[in-house]
């Protein structure tokens, strides 16, 4: 209310004065001292408020936030390191288990292979013995048969000679002749 009254009064009185004096308001030196005084008061107050209250407060806010952000980032990095470590440990356990399983499998496989091998060898040896025995029998029977062939030939020869000549030849001569034929 007081402002409005002052304004109205102001528009009338100095307006007329300005027209009388013809001074351009910004160059009217009668107002300089009042402006300078109030500028000094207000700007001084502003500088005091800014430098003592506002700016340290804002700086503090920004610093706190920066500290918080970097702290959180550090924590996140640490967590990530832990996670990586856990991952590595898991991988290692997995690899160990795999290696163990593989070793067990290999052992079993080797053992089974050895068993089978042994069994096969034993079987082969048995078969070989049997084969040898059979072979020995065959050769024995062959020899027997061959001896029998000599006596049959001698008998046949003496019978043939007896038929042709009518005389019974000497057995020793016959067997000699047979042997000679057989060998010749």
């Amino acid at each position: 209310m007081a402002d409005e009254k002052g304004q109205t009064a102001g528009t009338q009185v100095p307006g007329g004065a300005a027209h009388e004096g013809g001074a351009f308001p910004p160059f009217d030196s009668t107002t300089f001292s009042s402006q300078l005084v109030w500028l000094a008061i207000t700007f001084g107050a502003l500088y005091y408020l800014m430098s003592k209250v506002a700016l340290p407060r804002v700086a503090n806010i920004l610093e706190t936030r920066q500290a918080r952000i970097s702290g959180d980032l550090d924590a996140a990095t640490a967590m990530q390191g832990k996670a990586t470590e856990a991952g590595a440990a898991y991988e290692k356990t997995l690899a160990d288990a795999k290696a163990r399983a593989q070793a067990t499998a290999q052992q079993t496989r080797d053992k089974l292979a050895a068993d089978a091998d042994a069994k096969r060898k034993a079987l082969e040896a048995e078969l070989n013995t049997k084969l040898e025995a059979a072979e020995a029998q065959v050769s024995a029977m062959k020899a027997q048969a061959m001896t029998n062939v000599g006596s049959i030939a001698a008998e046949a020869a003496s019978a043939i000679v007896a038929q042709i000549t009518g005389k019974t030849p000497d057995a020793a001569q016959i067997s000699a002749a047979v042997a000679a034929t057989k060998n010749g």
Partner: protein
Amino acid sequence: MAAENAIDPIHQFQINPLFSDHVGAVTFTNASLFMVIVVGLISLLMIVGTSSKSLVPGRLQSAAEMAYEFVASTVRSSAGHEGMRFFPFVFSLFMFVLFSNLVGLIPYTFTVTSQIIVTFAFAALVIGTVIVYGVMRHGSHFLHLFVPSGVSPVLMPFIVLIEVISFISRPISLSVRLFANMLAGHITLKVFGGFVTLMLGAGALTGIASILPLAAIVLLTAFELLVAFLQAYVFAILTCVYLNDAIHPGH
């Protein structure tokens, strides 16, 4: 009276006493009122806005932090790490000029920075700080500011003369730039506003055509918003550049 006010584009720069009849040495005027309003608004943003000190900022705190970081990066990039001791000073300057410019764009308000004495006071404060700090810190070595190294002795007097003139013209250019930008912008807005009222009063046809200056006002207001920010930024960055000279006088 109203018509006269609408046409007279200079009226808005008039300094009026608020509680007395004439402007004395310490009279509280409309200019003083808007200085107080500007400081109040900045304090509202920077102190009330940051009072919760929350980790996740709200709107006001976010704006306050943005202003802080914007000015801090400007100071750091143009005056170096050592320049940060002037950060509260540059910040106060930037915010005062910016808020004066922005508040002045609201109709029926007074623009503090449209007064040459105010901008000149700021410029003198900046240059005064530069000289006092430069001499305090470097003594006579501060005069090397005017004597660039690697110049032939024949040219040296001219170079020194040019450097001295450039140094002296700094407060003038710094203050006139801001003052003239604000003054010209506000006069232009007022003139176009005067066109609208004149054309509306003159007749039906010109009344319809008054849409053109009205559109111009809309565009100019957007442009003035840009100028308001830009001039505050230019003022702050030039302050940093001059302070950098005080910190590192040898070019």
